[in-house]
Symmetry: C2
Subunit: 243 residues, 2 copies
Amino acid sequence: MSVPFNRFAAFADLTVAEQQALQELTGGPRFSYARGDAIRFEQEPVDRLYFLVSGWALTCGSLANGGRQNLKIHLPGDIMGAPSIALERSAEGIFAATDVTVCVIPLAKLSNVFTRLPRLAMLFFMAAQEEWVILMDRLLAAGRSSAKEALAALLIYLHERLLSPDKIPPSYFFLPLSQADIADYLGLHVVHVGRMFKALEDEGLISRDIRAVTLLDVERLRALSGIPARLLSRCASWLPPEI
Amino acid sequence: MSVPFNRFAAFADLTVAEQQALQELTGGPRFSYARGDAIRFEQEPVDRLYFLVSGWALTCGSLANGGRQNLKIHLPGDIMGAPSIALERSAEGIFAATDVTVCVIPLAKLSNVFTRLPRLAMLFFMAAQEEWVILMDRLLAAGRSSAKEALAALLIYLHERLLSPDKIPPSYFFLPLSQADIADYLGLHVVHVGRMFKALEDEGLISRDIRAVTLLDVERLRALSGIPARLLSRCASWLPPEI
DNA sequence: CGTGCACTTGACAGCTGTCAATGCCGGTGG
DNA sequence: CCACCGGCATTGACAGCTGTCAAGTGCACG
């Protein structure tokens, strides 16, 4: 069972050679981690990427004063660890939010793809830019929204990401993150995350189960978050030619 | 007079072909904008990048509730507008913080570089990842720091960026941003930015002039910010071969 | 049945937002 | 040369959101 690179297919229909190259990148041996384990710490030397095969993972940064923040929630099919390839030592740690399986991608293999398949290289570049936009929306939510709006933005974001594999929006979805995880994601404190969950529930926007949530009014939640829906570029005319 | 791509040279020594390609990318006609002008609005179609030849510019995002945030401060030599190449319509606006000169880079030219020069393509990819790390540090500063710490982080960031061209740290530097600009950058409000400037001044960490600032104790400011210094990867062994 | 983790609730403090008034400075026009 | 004006920075008072601390509940697990 292989996990698709949904992200790249969103930008363009992949050629056979490109699909094969991605298969090869993510075809290496699998490694398992238990919930809470570190997949990579901060300040480690950088020589690889990680492909998340199953489970949820968190990319996490920390501050000298002890503050930490979850920067990205990874779902199966995500590539992890890319931001640090520009650095001597990794800036972000990667942790298993549930039990996970990952596959290691040596950076030399990535270079090989850039050399052989320019169009795929451009898709990697575009995916990196998309990540910047996602983080930009995070910064907007953190800096210019209330805690409740930021939580709404997180729920909408997860809703959209979980929607993509089969195009059926699961307004009920599994949410294996603890409130502490979410607090670290939103830059809030655990107690306040609990208050905001309760506020959204009291307003009839969501309902909650054990480690799961139902969005009762997606559009009202989206409006509350204030983040516009982003439409990905598809088959741009300026992409490098297929090989 | 040409403005160098300092960023790429930081990752590897460029070949003649790579230098020529960059010259060509940034060799197009210049356009001038006055302080405050929009270079590109949000929600515009995306078919180009911008190269900042002179002056300071701001990349800015906005929220449905009217909140806006400056996401990136651009100095001469920066490429602007890249994040939106993954999108149908631009997510970020670009504005002139001072009078500026820019050069337009059609995306087709960028694709051409990816096709011809895989190693340079990888350097573009690494630069994109570096931008993510910078934004990640922003998010840490916004979410897990006090307003004073976040302002210290901004001053340290500018100090390091202004240092790079000639390696002489100008602890006194020109700061052409208004307090309103800085408030939008930090996710604070103008009045509070003024309070924090005054606090840093009262503590002997900085002194201020008209649109300029002096860092009186860089190391204490850095410690206050809590952001570690990042060491860029240089001449990584896994880079694609030179052409 | 005891332990530990996660979540909930309440009270209170503090940081930051908000509003309003003032002052400074440069530019403009008479 | 002087008066006026707009943009920007400063200051003060106050409110509100979020942080902080502490205690209590419920559930999973051994």
